[in-house]
């Protein structure tokens, strides 16, 4: 007779001392793990719920301005520093980790319309309603020394925006014309205009550094090459664009924030139809900024919310609002891809997490593994109705919700009417336009 009976030595399965870690022998045999799918689904559901539970995006509020914030800029080199300009001409430099104001400058009379940091991070430029461009040193002056700009340029008309070149000592301003300036000179090197009276925003392309884009008040977005004497082309839309931002990774895309509550992402090679129409805001969109990875962008709107859109999705993945936040004028995505800054009418700059449920600070290896696992689970079960319902739900203030419904009704009515018109016209005389095609009026070369 040959016999063997299962007999385990407990020493192989129990830790030797209490200071040891517990032994966890595994066996991956599927028959020992029944209900794989329902259990995984339950885990995914829990992960989705926890994600919503931990979604506390608001980090801090920086107060100190005495008027609405009109513009914010990041420091070119330092992650922790930002500058903000207010509607009373005051400029403040902030330290983000300490959440305090380092320096206050009375830069202009009237609005500060635009701020930009020099690429080397030694100085910054401001433009204001007093028709001046001022260059300031990043370093604060010593105690008792008056705040003086390094350089002041007096222009002919009001400047509404400014942006600095990525590598060279030139910058661009917009107002009644788009002017390109050399830092050393007091008159513009070149001026562009294309039959319009004013521009609201101008931005250098971050990759193709001689390329410029600007938003004009005649509902157009104009592209320029600084090496040429005339503008390249422009696209005219149905309503005016307020600002635009280039995608820093795929720099042939830019997104413009429009007055018609939408944002449009364009490919500069095919301006006739936008690549994506981003709809969700219920009022004019005032500012837009891309994340440094180029995968998402944040938009600020007159409807007192900021929204985060994936670059290729038509609807936002996130909406941030608080009771006290009024019309959001400007918004920036921090250079470490973790935070979003918003400046609003009620004199506060707010710091938000870019990923609402993310845990800040250092994570242990197990925490990291758990977050990765949960993320994957949510992704795997994202189409299940329960998971989708929880993941998509966002609380909205009552009036925004009401406006959203109203807007939906309006769009539906419009669609119905168009349909009826089409039904009763000669076939082919009322063409069927897609949402993308609807908003472009013309492209002018």
């Amino acid at each position: 007779m040959k016999v063997k009976v299962l007999c385990r030595n407990p020493d192989d399965y129990v830790r030797e001392t209490t200071r040891d870690i517990q032994r966890v022998p595994r066996n991956y045999d599927p028959t020992l793990h029944p209900f794989e799918v329902p259990r995984e689904y339950t885990r995914a559901l829990n992960a989705t719920k926890l994600e919503r539970v931990f979604a506390k995006p608001f980090v801090a509020s920086l107060d100190g301005h005495r008027d609405g914030i009109s513009c914010i800029t990041k420091h070119a080199k330092s992650l922790s520093t930002i500058i903000s300009g207010a509607c009373d001409g005051e400029v403040k430099v902030w330290n983000l980790p300490r959440q305090e104001c380092l320096r206050t400058v009375q830069a202009h009379e009237g609005f500060v319309r635009g701020i930009c940091s020099r690429f080397c991070g030694t100085s910054f430029f401001t433009v204001g309603d007093d028709k001046t461009i001022k260059q300031w040193n990043w370093e604060a002056p010593g105690y008792g020394v008056r705040e003086e700009p390094i350089n002041t340029i007096l222009g002919k008309a009001v400047f509404t925006g400014i942006d600095h070149h990525q590598r060279e000592g030139t910058f661009v301003t917009c107002g009644q014309t788009v002017d390109i300036w050399d830092e050393q000179r007091s008159s513009p090197i070149r001026s562009f205009s294309w039959g319009v009276d004013s521009f609201s925003c101008v931005r250098y392309n971050p990759v193709e550094t001689e390329l410029l884009a600007s938003c004009a008040s005649d509902r157009s977005v104009v592209l320029y090459d600084t090496r040429e004497s005339a503008p390249l082309r422009k696209v005219i839309m149905q309503l005016r664009s307020n600002t635009l931002c280039w995608n820093p990774m795929e720099a042939y895309y830019f997104t413009c924030a429009n007055e018609d509550y939408n944002l449009y992402t364009y490919d500069i090679r095919h301006l006739d139809v936008p690549v994506t129409v981003h709809m969700d805001h219920v009022s004019a969109v005032l500012d837009v900024d891309y994340s440094p990875t180029g995968r998402e962008f944040v938009s600020a709107s007159f409807d007192k919310t900021i929204r985060i859109f994936p670059k290729d999705k038509g609807h936002s993945r996130e909406v941030y609002h608080t009771k006290r936040m009024q019309h959001v004028i400007c918004v920036r995505w921090s250079a470490d891809n973790k935070y979003v800054l918003s400046g609003s009418d009620e004199m506060n700059i707010r710091l938000w997490k870019a990923n609402a449920s993310e845990k800040l600070g250092l994570l242990s290896a197990r925490e990291k593994a758990a977050t990765h696992y949960n993320k994957k689970l949510i992704e795997k079960f994202q189409h299940h109705p329960q998971v989708r319902r929880i993941a998509r739900h966002r609380h909205l203030p009552g009036d925004i919700l009401k406006q959203k419904r109203e807007l939906r009704e309006m769009r539906e009515a419009q669609r119905r009417k168009e349909q009826n018109v089409r039904k009763h016209s000669k076939p082919g005389s009322v063409p069927l336009l897609t949402e993308k095609e609807k908003h472009v009026v013309a492209v002018v070369e």
Partner: protein, 589 residues
């Protein structure tokens, strides 16, 4: 070599390295390699004075050709994995890239396929690291293993294993029902006349013992060793491991048999009044109460694969139940007489039944087909299946253990047999041990059945050696991933599949569920107009103006169906897979 250029220096450096001899390997023929190593070096030395760069290239080329080799992997490539092991970890079929798929989709499918294949391989490789092997019993020549007595086996094996064969003489309150906890450490026995005891059976440590002074029909551990349920004469009681009564659940009366579904935290009970009830033990609520209308329910088993409850009935049928449906999922006629006992294997493939017609039958419950049956002279009153597929059957006073029952080959002689005194009332295999517990009229017997238990447990699921802290941790995790009772169905993997029911199908179901068609167009109702323009005649006229539109829809539909008939193709799938009710009233033999 005298030149002091850096190139020359590098070559000398290489030579120095080469002089160091590598340890011999059994697959190397040392002399040959030594020679072949030297030759190219000499050549290099000569040529190296003039064209250093070219020699470096040559050297690398030669290495590639394999002339001068330092060390060669005798087993190139990754280690092979036996196909059988790979198959074990196969989950579903491979995803095929649909024709005309976009590049992005193709890429995503390829990546996910590669990842799952990698995981499968890793899991299959892990089998090498499993520490324990299963037990076995082999007789000498011309020796039947079923003639070997328990005492002999206990003598032949080591003391720890030998002590797993023992008897508890409890002749006063018998016969006994029993249940092992999920980790296999604790044993719960309940005598018909009210004696309930829980024991750590390996250390023979008595945790609690009491007499409930009432008939005990069944006993069952709940999710941990801290709680157990006892079905007493009137109500269902829940005690803790010290024997303190925690709950008396008066909604559950006259319970005869119980099953605990560990991943759902459900206690399923079958009562003498014909009710099948589910108690959620994590929140203490009755989840479902189903009137089976089948009379007294004293035969019950659970399918561990999909948590479906199997009930055996006096008319020879076995019915399958889930808490989500008031009728049985499946009803199958298994025996000519009453069903005496049932057992389902852990993969959910086979069901073994025994009946008053003294037959033992094995069914494939995926196809609901009988595989084979055999005649036992005494009939089997109790059945139990072990983790590795051994079947034990209580025939009269003898417990027989059969091997290789699950599958297509018919039952032959038993693998082991053991005679007891008194009627056998309960049979249960201890999980992760080679032990069969038998409750009978004279008490309890623990019997050694080599090869019964799964040798390697998964500590994150069930760990017999877990500490207090680990148990607490496990309990929290298990409660967090408690599967909702709504997810119980015949196929537990249904949730991961794409619901391909066509729009028409869903629409039809919706109409059935709601009782009306939600997408149906309202009938045209003319607006009432003032100043006499709403006379009956005018309304009729206005109705007639739009009548052709309805007519048009109707016509197009009828034309469509006409075409369908002509081309012999059906537009509607008559597929009631969603209901999955298959009634098999088939009698074999």
């Amino acid at each position: 070599m005298a030149a002091v250029t850096p190139e020359v220096l590098t070559s000398t450096h290489v030579e120095k390295m080469k002089k160091k001899k590598l340890p011999k390997r059994y697959w190397e023929e040392t002399e040959k390699t030594d020679q072949s190593q030297r030759r190219p070096e000499e050549e290099q030395g000569k040529a190296g004075q003039n064209q250093n760069k070219s020699t470096v290239k040559e050297k690398s080329l030669k290495r590639k050709n394999g002339e001068s080799l330092e060390k060669k992997d005798p087993f190139p490539g990754e280690a092979p994995i036996p196909q059988k092991q790979l198959q074990k970890f196969q989950r579903g079929k491979k995803c095929k890239v649909p024709a005309g798929a976009r590049e992005r989709l193709k890429e995503a499918i390829a990546i996910s396929e590669a990842m799952s294949e990698h995981a499968q391989k890793q899991a299959a490789r892990y089998d090498l690291l499993l520490p324990e092997d299963a037990g076995f019993l082999e007789g000498d020549e011309d020796e039947d293993t079923n003639t070997i007595s328990q005492a002999d086996i206990a003598d032949a094996v080591d003391i720890t294993s030998g002590s797993k064969y023992f008897n508890l003489h409890l002749s006063q309150f018998g016969p006994y029902r029993l249940d092992y906890s999920r980790t296999g450490r604790n044993l719960l026995v309940g005598g018909k006349k009210g004696h309930v005891a829980c024991i750590d059976w390996q250390t023979k440590d008595l945790k609690c013992e009491m007499n409930v002074m009432e008939t005990v029909n069944d006993v069952k551990w709940l999710h941990t060793e801290a709680m157990f349920a006892v079905a007493q004469k009137r109500w269902l009681y829940i005690y803790d491991s010290k024997g303190v009564e925690l709950h008396c659940v008066k909604k559950f009366n006259d319970v005869l048999r119980m099953q605990f579904l560990p991943y759902h935290f459900l206690l399923a009970t079958a009562s003498a009044t014909g009710f099948l009830q589910y108690l959620d033990v994590s929140i203490g609520k009755e989840v479902a109460a189903i009137c089976t209308k089948m009379g007294r329910l004293d035969v019950m088993a659970q399918n561990p694969h999909n948590a479906v409850i199997h009930l055996g009935h006096p008319n020879g049928t076995v019915s399958l139940w889930s808490p989500n449906q008031k009728e049985s999922l499946v009803k199958m006629l298994c025996h000519r007489g009453a069903v005496r006992s049932l057992a389902v294997d852990k993969t959910g493939t086979y069901m073994v039944t025994s009946g008053l017609d003294r037959k033992l039958k094995v069914y494939d419950i995926r196809a609901f087909k009988p595989l084979h049956s055999c005649f036992l002279p005494a009939g089997a009153s109790c059945l139990s299946l072990s983790q590795r597929g051994l079947l034990s059957a209580a025939t009269g006073e003898i417990v027989q253990v059969y091997q290789n029952v699950l599958g297509s080959n018919p039952v032959s002689k038993p693998y082991m047999a053991h005679r007891l005194r008194g009627q056998i009332w309960g049979l249960a295999y201890c999980p992760f041990e080679d032990v069969l517990g038998i409750g009978h009229g004279e008490g309890f017997t623990s019997m050694i059945v080599p090869g019964a238990g799964e040798p390697n447990f998964d500590a994150l699921d069930t760990n017999p050696y877990r500490s207090h802290k680990q148990r607490q941790e496990w309990e929290v995790k298990a409660l967090l991933e408690k599967v909702q009772p709504e997810l119980i169905g015949l196929d537990p993997g249904q949730l991961s599949k794409v619901d391909q029911a066509s729009f028409e199908q869903r629409h039809k179901e919706q109409i059935e569920a709601l009782g009306f068609d939600p997408l149906a167009k309202d009938k045209f109702k003319p607006r009432t107009k003032k100043k006499g323009r709403s006379s009956a005649g005018a309304i009729e006229k206005r109705k007639r103006k739009v009548a052709h539109e309805d007519q048009r829809v109707f016509l197009s539909l009828s034309l469509l169906s006409l075409f369908a008939i002509i081309s012999h193709c059906s537009y509607y799938r008559h597929d009631d897979a969603s209901h999955r009710r298959c009634n098999i009233f088939k009698q074999s033999d």
